[in-house]
Symmetry: C2
Subunit: 269 residues, 2 copies
């Protein structure tokens, strides 16, 4: 399986520290060596770095690790191929323009028998189940709302319904962002931490690297980091229960909806 | 105005040498300091590097200059802003998925009063005349051919008609690529060179750098490089007459159509 990393903030923040631990999982401390990618929103623009080689040995990943790109929304992915060959066209995150903004999507899991009819408005370029799910999701949002973007509550409700439909096909952990919001689905496994004042030191799980956030931040900063597995070993990561869809904005969870039967989860923040 | 650089080849080739001269024009040997970008097709996939700062001082441009990404189709652009603020969302090249492949577009020029009705299938994210023209072009291809990609001759004829329509609004030098083909419109100024056996030494105009292509190539390689101004001072660059639309494939011009009244140009190769 793959690994996901997301960041949603209330001020543009660099992800160098978290990416340092994440990058090591792509072939060094873990086995996800079939490519990696990262998308940074900067205002309405989006930078997407993709590399079909292991992140632990990628010159591009070294650049991303050292080049402080400040962003309010980031999605990164390291790949262990399940469906679709190793290659650039199958490397996450995927990006499309929709309603005059960029949307970015990355998936961890495996969907079986997911072969929906696509109307051509958004078509996969590669062969992954993941890109197919992203295209189908955007197609359905367009069919539902036309060319006008709905308000955020209606959008989240629609993403919830579509997530339920796709989840019937298998494991569907995903991160989805449009520059303002980050949506995260914990199908089986996902965690998050919110960093805010008083900021403290954090120490990576995958490498012996420590950062003192109190020296790098202001009192109003708030940063949510979402990852398949906690990236640090001394912070209060929250386990996101299997079967929950989360909407993050301005560095914190806004709303959570369940995607399995049972009581809705408590948002801890 | 901006500067364009394109490459179309019959085998995946790195653009490090040509990009070295081109990069210098972004703030060092020339004034195009409002951002730069480059797109590399690799199979069906596409890597897009964008930076809203001057290419001559960009760490990302340094990486691209030294990291030999092999591609059959490349489009690069350095920007001198005319319409749209300096910012990532206004940085060329622009990329969209269309007919299940990526399309990439970069423009040099200025379109005045170009405010077409867009149906929402492809919408600009930024504020440039260039992205608007790209969206309108894709929209019209979709309206004309539906969700089925036409054969290449019909596609080129359609791009020709749409180029004529947009050109009425002003200077419209552009490069457009879909992974297989590269289309180049010389509205006012564009040149190309075809490198093929017997390969020789080439020397950059903008920097004292020489490369001996005979040591880096095989006898069957063929590479077309297209640029706003010739990048080398000892090769036979062909001036592309103002008002000509070119279709490049496998490293050579395939067809040329005029976009002004008068006799069609001679393809020299």
């Amino acid at each position: 399986m793959c690994q996901l990393l997301g960041m949603n903030c209330n001020v543009p923040t660099d992800i160098c520290f978290s990416f340092t631990g994440f990058q090591a999982r792509g072939g060094a401390t873990d086995v996800h060596a079939d490519g990696w990618g990262i998308a940074f929103f900067e205002g309405r623009g989006c930078r997407l770095f993709l590399d079909p080689q292991a992140s632990s040995t990628s010159p591009l990943a070294e650049l991303v690790r050292h080049y402080p790109i400040r962003s309010k929304n980031v999605i990164a992915h390291i790949r262990k191929a399940t469906q679709g060959a190793v290659g650039l066209e199958n490397t996450h995150p995927f990006m499309r323009e929709h309603w005059g903004r960029y949307w970015v999507f990355a998936h961890n899991g495996n969907l079986s028998g997911f072969a929906p009819v696509l109307d051509g408005a958004c078509q996969p370029v590669g062969q992954t189940d993941s890109e197919r799910a992203f295209c189908w999701l955007l197609q359905n949002l367009r069919q539902r709302f036309g060319h006008e973007e709905p308000d955020s509550a209606r959008l989240f409700a629609a993403i919830h319904q579509l997530t339920l439909a796709i989840s019937r096909h298998g494991e569907f952990n995903f991160l989805l962002a449009n520059g303002d919001w980050l949506f995260a689905h914990a199908s089986t496994r996902l965690s998050y931490v919110v960093r805010q004042a008083p900021f403290q030191e954090a120490h990576l799980s995958d490498q012996d690297v420590t950062v003192d956030f109190s020296a790098l931040t202001t009192a109003d900063d708030r940063v949510a980091v979402i990852a398949t597995l906690p990236l640090t070993d001394n912070e209060a990561w929250v386990d996101m229960p299997a079967g929950t869809l989360w909407w993050f904005a301005e560095g914190a969870p806004v709303q959570t909806l369940t995607t399995v039967a049972g009581p809705p989860p408590q948002v801890k923040n």
